[in-house]
Amino acid sequence: MAGDIAGITLLSLLISGTSTLVATLIAVPLGTFLGLREIGSARLLRTILFTLYGLPPVLAGLLVYLLLSRPGPLGFLGLIYTPLGMVFAQTLVVTPIILGITTSVVASVERRVKETAFVLGADARQLQVTVIKEAAAGVLTAVMVGFGRAISEVGAVYIVGGAIPGKTQVLTTTIITDIQQAQNEHAVALGVILLVLGGLVYYLLYRLQEKTLP
């Protein structure tokens, strides 16, 4: 029982952490690029990103399921019902969130910071570095929100992972299967772990964010 819970918790952290990391690596550079640009195409992209904020995780899961299932275009990779497939699905859910917040944060600090750096003699590269440094606290917020979404997400990982005992069970999907099997005590225990885990990770990120605040 305890080993079972530890394994589920570890897999939850691994999948959510990996998908947040991958999403961060994609979204932060791209969001900075978009946030620094005032051109029309960048604005259009920003609008699309904001609409993707609302991408229902179940829909993301369905999309990834269709891609990864055996007859799907990526079915040959054999990723369906695997932790890697779940990372794929969660990355799809989390990336627009981190991307959108990063873009907004960079765009909102950009003008005053850029003008100040400009009049102090910064060149184009130095301007960008300064803007990114100033936006650091906001970018960390984006990562925190992304991780929060990943760890609490259920629809996409359920569809793509299948909640297979000992293989693709994570905290959220196990709570659902526990309730379906009337194992309420087990579900409550996992719920508490989910709460503590989320709180702990948020606390650590918050402390990190505090260090970057002015």
Partner: protein, 244 residues
């Protein structure tokens, strides 16, 4: 360490509103030139055009007799000879010392030269004791002093000051005005001081211009401008009777 400035026919329109309607002015190297006028007269836009923050619709700005170069490296070098202090300065995250050293860092100044330059900048505005303080924690007056130190630490040949003591207490105003005089005396830098405070213009400037509705109404040496203005609008302005 100084720069002449010639501005001819400078015009700028924002959303159909003519903010600058043909500014002609010539500044000699080393002079402190003040532009006074009510809010919305175009003073800040003028400074932004000179400081490359706003592109004018037409007209020319010549620095030491030459137009701004098209070559990015030459333009960067010219930009680095110009300093600017805004009415509400933005301080970067980090310490006061980091803010003051920013201009030196982007010019690749390192080691003892960086430390010495930063210390001198802080000293010029009496902020030695706040070097390691968080920039976000300083008062409005101290923030303005940090911004001024940050601008002069790189020894600009042309310094643009935009209402740089607006809303500050008399102590901070005195410190900053003394720092302006000292910087001008030490370096011979040309200084453009935009203000709606006539008393400040009187205290600091060699020459004064009145800007109204995007046009310069009158320019003259400080004594003549305030004691025997030629234009009735200047007379009304210096008497505090100007209605706008």
């Amino acid at each position: 360490m100084t720069m002449s400035l010639e501005v001819g026919g400078l015009m700028k329109t924002f959303g159909g509103r003519e903010v600058l309607r043909g500014i002609d002015v010539r500044l000699s190297p080393g002079e402190i030139f003040s532009i006074v006028g009510p809010s919305g007269a175009g003073k800040t836009t003028f400074l932004r055009c000179v400081g490359f923050l706003t592109t004018p619709d037409c007209g020319s700005v010549r620095y030491d007799g030459a137009a701004a170069p098209a070559d990015p490296t030459a333009l960067l070098n010219l930009r680095r000879r110009i300093g600017m202090v805004a009415q509400n300065p933005f301080l970067f995250r980090g310490t006061v010392a980091f803010n003051v050293s920013y201009g030196l860092c982007v010019r690749d100044v390192e080691g003892p030269a960086l430390k010495e330059g930063t210390a001198k900048g802080l000293e010029s505005v009496g902020l030695q004791g706040l070097a390691e303080a968080k920039a976000s924690g300083v008062s409005a007056g101290e923030a303005q002093r940090v911004a001024f130190a940050r601008a002069i630490v790189v020894r600009p040949d042309l310094l643009l000051l935009d209402e740089f003591t607006a809303n500050l207490d008399p102590t901070n105003v005195n410190i900053l005005e003394a720092a302006v005089r000292e910087y001008n005396r030490q370096t011979g830098a040309t200084i453009v001081l935009v203000t709606h405070n006539m008393f400040q213009a009187k205290r600091l400037a060699h020459r004064v211009a009145l800007l109204l509705d995007g046009r310069i109404v009158e320019v003259g040496p400080v004594k003549e401008f305030f004691e025997s203005p030629q234009d009735p609008r200047t007379l009304a302005f210096v008497r505090g009777e100007f209605a706008y």
